[in-house]
């Protein structure tokens, strides 16, 4: 493997892992509520910004991170309680606009609580690049990949082996039937928003040392996460992970070999092309319309 190619793949995998975490958040909320949460990117922003500000207050990183994740979870629960739950049964477009309104509100709050500047977070374990197959990788990238892998495995266990996880899956397939079997659907909804917020916040914290963080960092990451979730097939966990990694690698290769100005456009062109041939994404289930 040539050195530039290895470098592009490593860079792509790192950013792809972040997209995958955001996409998983989209998938979890979509499964529980059939809502596309356009405020998902703001969880990423809150995670990064809150960690930076707690760390600057003198909290050690090991304490700042959990507190920041909890803060994002609280915001996620509030979003479900005060914006999504009251609008139950509204149309898809209405719900999209509600979550977009929430994202504008949260960004506005971020500029009030923090500011409009770029902030940096110290890497978790040093900044000395590691040589790998002729390419270099930052220790922080290893953190991103490792934590993402751990989260994906943990989620797999949660949905496959625990009663709560299975209840969430059941509610996503058929809300009414799940309710009849004794699943507390309202709790599932809350849980899904909390879990997604935690995933988004973790993604934001992991990436902050590499790309810096600011009040509007969630916009593009949210869009990319949505694109990854759609590419993989909405509601599919494996799809979200594969979609995220694929999107990251495609972008990185596009920037490296074609044009860095057009890297986002290249990614979107490929997503459109995939959707034209596979209208339900890579792993999405085909849905039939009942008349």
């Amino acid at each position: 493997m040539s050195a530039p190619l290895a470098q592009y793949l490593l860079t792509g995998l790192t950013i792809g892992a972040i997209y995958a975490l955001v996409a998983l958040g989209f998938a979890i909320i979509y499964n529980a509520s059939h809502v596309i949460n356009f405020a998902q990117g703001e969880f990423v922003m809150i995670g990064g910004m809150a960690t930076v500000s707690f760390a600057s207050l003198g909290l050690p990183l090991l304490a700042a991170i959990p507190v920041a994740v909890l803060a994002a979870v609280a915001v996620g629960l509030a979003l479900e309680k005060f914006a999504v739950e009251p609008a139950r049964g509204a149309s898809v477009v209405t719900l999209i606009i509600i979550t977009i309104g929430a994202s504008i509100l949260l960004r506005g709050l971020a500029t009030l609580v923090w500011d409009k500047n770029l902030h940096s977070l110290k890497p978790f374990s040093g900044e000395r690049p590691i040589e790998l197959a002729g390419a270099t990788i930052l220790p922080q990238s290893l953190w991103v990949l490792g934590v993402t892998l751990a989260i994906v495995l943990a989620l797999g266990g949660f949905f496959g082996r625990t009663l709560t996880g299975k209840a969430m899956l059941a509610a996503s397939h058929n809300r009414l039937a799940a309710q009849l079997c004794g699943v507390n659907v309202r709790f599932v909804l809350l849980l899904s928003f909390g879990l997604s917020a935690a995933l988004g916040a973790i993604a934001g914290i992991l990436i902050a040392p590499i790309t810096l963080t600011s009040w509007d960092v969630g916009v593009m990451l949210g869009l990319k996460g949505f694109a990854a979730a759609i590419l993989g097939g909405l509601g599919s966990g494996a799809g979200a992970v594969v979609g995220g990694l694929a999107l990251g690698i495609l972008e990185s290769l596009g920037a490296g070999y074609l044009s860095s100005a057009y890297k986002d456009a290249i990614a979107f062109v490929i997503i459109l092309a995939v959707l034209f041939f596979m209208p339900n994404g890579l792993f999405g289930m085909k849905s039939t319309e009942r008349v």
Partner: protein, 313 residues
């Protein structure tokens, strides 16, 4: 004539508002706001045909608006075309593009359609920002005034009347389209695509048709905006403007042409009024968006109509 139908009474009411509004417009700033409302309303009337009536979401219509604006701007400023020829060529070009991309895109449904239209809008906006030799890049470009032989259209008052007439024409076209067989086909599609097909509606054709019409409305409004303001930046092409446009349609009331006009007016006016809040502007705007959608999920005008009907009984 029955003055209670939208096609007669509604149109007459809109014409009256446009005629009388200048009495309340104190200075050029308010004329500018009124023109901006008119331009947004034209886009929303078209977008409402697609989103409200046919039930096909689009998160990329700012792209068509931008193509209209930059098409007119580039043809007149860089290639010296007459404004009218540039307007016709740009509108035709956007119609053709919408026809080409509409077919594969509109096969998608729900959130996949949202993603595809969003992607289309983002691609258009990236191209406009990156091709800076033609478009001026992020800084934008200036646009010559709209000229016809022996006549140059400039000034707030002139453009107010142009926008007013164009808006009336757009509403008139939309209202007629909705009452035509094609419009009924669209509404059938919204209810159930399979059901409509079984009843003999060519779903693909109907969807692509309305997609092209809404793109043409957006492109035309974009060309108008470019010539009116004399300057165009990529800000009006991006994802946020697309969202703003859809929000206007949903706020006013889906599947209500006058609702789209009211939505455009309210949401164009709101940021102007909120500027007094300075740093709290975004928070309040977001909260207003959430609150209206939670309390009026059907939009402003349909909710109002429903309330009036209830009271009459």
């Amino acid at each position: 004539m029955n003055w209670k139908t939208p096609r007669t009474g509604g149109l007459a009411a809109l014409a009256a508002v446009i005629l009388l509004l200048p009495l309340a417009l104190a200075n050029n700033y308010w004329y500018e706001v009124a023109i901006l409302i008119g331009i947004n309303a034209i886009v929303c009337v078209g977008l409402n045909l697609l989103v409200g009536y046919a039930g096909q979401i689009s998160l990329g219509h700012a792209g068509f608006f931008g193509l209209g604006a930059y098409g007119s701007a580039i043809l007149t400023a860089r290639y010296g075309w007459p404004s009218a020829a540039a307007l016709v060529a740009t509108t035709a070009g956007v119609a053709l593009l919408a026809l080409l991309v509409g077919r594969p895109i509109l096969k998608l449904k729900g959130h996949y359609l949202a993603m595809a239209t969003l992607g289309m809008g983002v691609i258009i906006s990236i191209v406009i920002v990156t091709e800076d030799r033609l478009t001026g890049g992020p800084d934008g470009m200036s646009v010559p005034a709209f000229t016809l032989p022996g006549l140059s259209l400039a000034g707030e008052r002139t453009w107010y009347w142009i926008t007013g007439i164009a808006l009336l024409a757009a509403v008139w076209i939309a209202l007629n389209l909705i009452e035509s067989p094609a419009g009924r086909a669209l509404r059938a599609l919204h209810g159930s695509e399979v059901g409509a097909q079984v009843s003999g509606v060519d779903a693909t054709r109907a969807k692509v048709g309305v997609f092209v019409i809404s793109a043409v409305f957006a492109s035309f409004a974009g060309s108008m905006a470019a010539h009116y303001s004399g300057f165009i930046t990529p800000g009006k092409v991006g994802f946020f403007h697309s969202i703003e446009l859809v929000t206007m349609v949903v706020f006013g009331g889906m599947a209500s042409t006058f609702g789209a006009v009211i939505g455009a007016a309210t949401l164009t006016l709101l940021p102007q009024l909120l500027t007094v809040l300075k740093e709290y502007e975004m928070v309040v705007f977001g909260a207003v968006m959430i609150a209206t959608m939670v309390f009026l999920p059907r939009g402003f005008l349909p909710s109002l109509m429903l309330e009036l009907k209830k009271n009459r009984k």
